[in-house]
C-alpha cells in the first residue's frame, strides 16, 4: 500500500518542480526550453499512471472472469 | 661562427649558416639578406652567394633566396619582438645588436616634410660583423705617443670604409685606458663619443666590448655635442671620435684641443692627399691640428698599416716590426 503513497508524492513532486522549471525558464526568455521541460515531466508521469492503469485493468479482468 | 650572430638569425638561416666552411665563417665581414633575392656574404674582401645547404656559389642563380617570413622573423629577433621601441634607430637606418654587430636596414621610408619619419616594409638587411681584435693597435701605438707630455698625439686615422678603422681606434682606446706600454704606466681617462654605437656597441648604455678600466662612452650622441658634453662632464685626457666630417665636428675638435685633451679621430679617405682636399679636413690639416696621421689600407687584409705621417705631412720612419705585417 505505501508504495503507492510514495508514488503519489512522486507525481506531485514532479508536477511542482516541472512547473517551477517552466516558470523560471519562461522568465529568462527561454520559452522553448520551458515547454520541453514540461513535456518531459508530463511524459514521465504519464508513463507511471499508465503502468498503474494497466495493472488495474488486468486485475479487474482476472477477478470478473472476463474472457 | 660567432654565437651572437646565430642568435639573431631565424631558424631557417641558422641551419644554413651553421654548415658554412669554418675558415670562411671565421673571416666573415658582412651578411647581406635581401627578401626574394640571393643571399650574399662578404668575407676577406671578396663576396659569395650562399646555397640552400650552406655551400658557396659564384653565380647567384642557385643561391638561397630568403622568404618574406625569414625577413619578418629576423626583424623580430633583432628588435626583441618590439619594432616600435627601435623607431629612432630605424630612422637612422641601422640597429646595433649585442655582440657589437651593426645591422644596416633598407626598406620603404615614410617621409614627413622632407625628413625621414620611419622605415617600413624592411626587405634588405646588412649584418656587419664586429671584430674585436685585441692588439690591433700595438704596432701603431709607439708612433702616436708624445713621450714628454705622457699623452698620445692628436691623431687622425684615415682609411676607406671597412678597412678596420673602428677596430683600430677601439683597441687604441683600450690600450690608452689600460696604460701603455703594457699597462706599466698609469692609464689615461678616455672619453668615447659613439654616435652610431659602433665602437663600444652599447646595449642599453652598457658597452659590450672591453674598452679599458678608465673609459667612458657616450652612446648614440651626435659627435659635436658629444665631445662638448664629455669635456664638461668626464674631463677625459683622450677623446676618441669616429668619422668626423661635418663642420661642427671640426669646431668641436678645436674646442677639445683648447680644453687640453688629446683627440683621436677617424675620417674616410684613401690617403693623406685624398683627405687634404676634403673641405672641412683641409683647414684642420692646414692648422696642423693633428700631429699624427695614420693611413690604413687593405693590401694585406683589412687593417694593414700603410704609413704614419707627422703634422707637416712627412712620413715617420716605420721600424721593421711596424711595417705592413700580415693582417
Amino acid at each position: 500500500m505505501n508504495v503507492d503513497v510514495s508514488a503519489i508524492f512522486q507525481i506531485a513532486g514532479i508536477g511542482i518542480i516541472v512547473a517551477m522549471i517552466h516558470t523560471v525558464l519562461k522568465q529568462m526568455g527561454k520559452e522553448d526550453m520551458a515547454h520541453w521541460a514540461t513535456l518531459i515531466g508530463f511524459v514521465i508521469v504519464m508513463i507511471m499512471v499508465l503502468s498503474r492503469l494497466n495493472d488495474l485493468f488486468s486485475e479487474i479482468k482476472a477477478i470478473f472472469l472476463f474472457q | 661562427m660567432q654565437e651572437s650572430i646565430l642568435a639573431i638569425l631565424p631558424l631557417s638561416l641558422q641551419s644554413l649558416f651553421a654548415n658554412l666552411p669554418e675558415d670562411v665563417a671565421g673571416q666573415l665581414e658582412e651578411i647581406r639578406i635581401r627578401e626574394d633575392r640571393p643571399l650574399e656574404i662578404v668575407y676577406s674582401g671578396t663576396y659569395r652567394f650562399v646555397s640552400g645547404q650552406g655551400g658557396l656559389l659564384e653565380h647567384p642563380s642557385r643561391a638561397y633566396r630568403p622568404t618574406r617570413d625569414d625577413c619578418i622573423r629576423l626583424l623580430e629577433l633583432l628588435t626583441h619582438y618590439s619594432v616600435y621601441s627601435f623607431e629612432e634607430q630605424l630612422r637612422c637606418g641601422y640597429i646595433t645588436v649585442c655582440g657589437g654587430h651593426r645591422v644596416g636596414l633598407a626598406g620603404r621610408t615614410v617621409t614627413e616634410n622632407g625628413k625621414v619619419r620611419l622605415l617600413k616594409d624592411i626587405s634588405g638587411f646588412n649584418i656587419r660583423i664586429a671584430r674585436d681584435i685585441a692588439g690591433a693597435a700595438d704596432r701603431v701605438l709607439p708612433y702616436l705617443l708624445d713621450y714628454p707630455a705622457r699623452k698620445p698625439h692628436h691623431t687622425l686615422v684615415v682609411s676607406p670604409p671597412q678597412q678596420g678603422k673602428t677596430t683600430l681606434i677601439r683597441d687604441l682606446a683600450r690600450r690608452i685606458s689600460q696604460g701603455f706600454p703594457s699597462g706599466a704606466d698609469r692609464g689615461l681617462k678616455v672619453g668615447i663619443v659613439d654616435e652610431r654605437s659602433e665602437i663600444a656597441a652599447c646595449v642599453k648604455g652598457v658597452p659590450r666590448f672591453d674598452l679599458g678600466p678608465r673609459t667612458d662612452v657616450l652612446d648614440g650622441c651626435p659627435k659635436a655635442e658629444g665631445m662638448m658634453m664629455l669635456l664638461r662632464s668626464m674631463s677625459p685626457d683622450v677623446l676618441v671620435v669616429d668619422e668626423i666630417g661635418r663642420p661642427e665636428d671640426a669646431e668641436a675638435v678645436r674646442e677639445a684641443l683648447h680644453a687640453g685633451s688629446r683627440v683621436i679621430a677617424t675620417a674616410h679617405g684613401n690617403g693623406l692627399e685624398d683627405v687634404r682636399n676634403r673641405p672641412i679636413l683641409r683647414e684642420l690639416i692646414r692648422d696642423a691640428i693633428f700631429s699624427r696621421y695614420v693611413v690604413l689600407s687593405r693590401k694585406y687584409g683589412a687593417g694593414t698599416l700603410e704609413a704614419v705621417y707627422n703634422e707637416r705631412g712627412e712620413r715617420v720612419p716605420l721600424t721593421a716590426s711596424a711595417l705592413p705585417a700580415r693582417g
Binding site: I17, V24, L25, M28 | I72, Y81, S82, Y84, L90, K120
Partner: protein, 172 residues
C-alpha cells in the same frame, strides 16, 4: 538512511552545477575587463615606456589575477626565450591554450587572435591603433557579457537546484 544521504548528495551536485554556471557567467565580464586593462597597460608600455614586448608582457601579467596573468606570463617567457618562433605563433598558440582556463567565449578569443597578427611588428602609432581597436571591441563584448550575466545568473542558480530536486524525486 543511505537513500537520504544519496538524495542530499544529488541535490548538492545539482545546485553546485547551477552555481558553477552562474559563476562562469559572472567571471566572464570581470575577465574581459581585466583583459581591457591589460591591453591598455600594454599600450602605455609600448607608447611611452618603449619597453620590449617580452618585458611588457611580464610586467602586465604581474598586475592581473590568476587565469590571465598566467597566460601573459607564459607568452612573455616564451618570447624572451626567443626560440625563433614568430610573435604571431607564440601569441596565438598561448591564447588558444590558455582559453580553457578562462571563462570567456569565442568572440573575445577571435579579437585577441586578430591582435596577434600585428603585435610588435609595426611602429608606435600602428601598435596603439591596433590596441585601441582591440580594447573598443572588447568593451562592446563586455557590455553584452554583463547583461547576459544579469539575465542568466539567477536562472542558472535556481535551475541547478530544481534539476537536483527533480532527479532526487525521480529516483526516490
Amino acid at each position: 538512511m543511505l537513500k537520504l544521504l544519496g538524495a542530499v548528495l544529488i541535490l548538492l551536485a545539482g545546485t553546485g552545477f547551477g552555481f558553477y554556471q552562474a559563476r562562469q557567467l559572472a567571471n566572464r565580464p570581470r575577465q574581459i575587463r581585466q583583459l581591457i586593462q591589460a591591453l591598455q597597460r600594454m599600450e602605455t608600455e609600448i607608447a611611452y615606456g618603449f619597453t620590449f614586448l617580452p618585458e611588457a608582457m611580464i610586467k602586465v601579467s604581474k598586475q592581473l589575477s590568476s587565469p590571465l596573468s598566467h597566460l601573459f606570463q607564459q607568452i612573455g617567457q616564451q618570447l624572451s626565450a626567443s626560440s625563433g618562433q614568430s610573435t604571431k605563433d607564440v601569441w596565438q598558440t598561448s591564447v588558444k591554450e590558455g582559453w580553457k582556463h578562462t571563462s570567456m567565449k569565442e568572440a573575445e578569443k577571435e579579437i585577441l587572435l586578430q591582435l596577434g597578427y600585428t603585435l610588435g611588428l609595426t611602429d608606435k602609432e600602428d601598435q596603439v591603433k591596433h590596441l585601441r581597436l582591440g580594447v573598443s571591441q572588447l568593451q562592446a563584448e563586455e557590455e553584452q557579457a554583463r547583461d547576459e550575466q544579469r539575465r542568466y545568473e539567477k536562472m542558472w542558480k535556481s535551475l541547478g537546484l530544481l534539476a537536483g530536486a527533480l532527479i532526487v524525486i525521480l529516483i526516490y
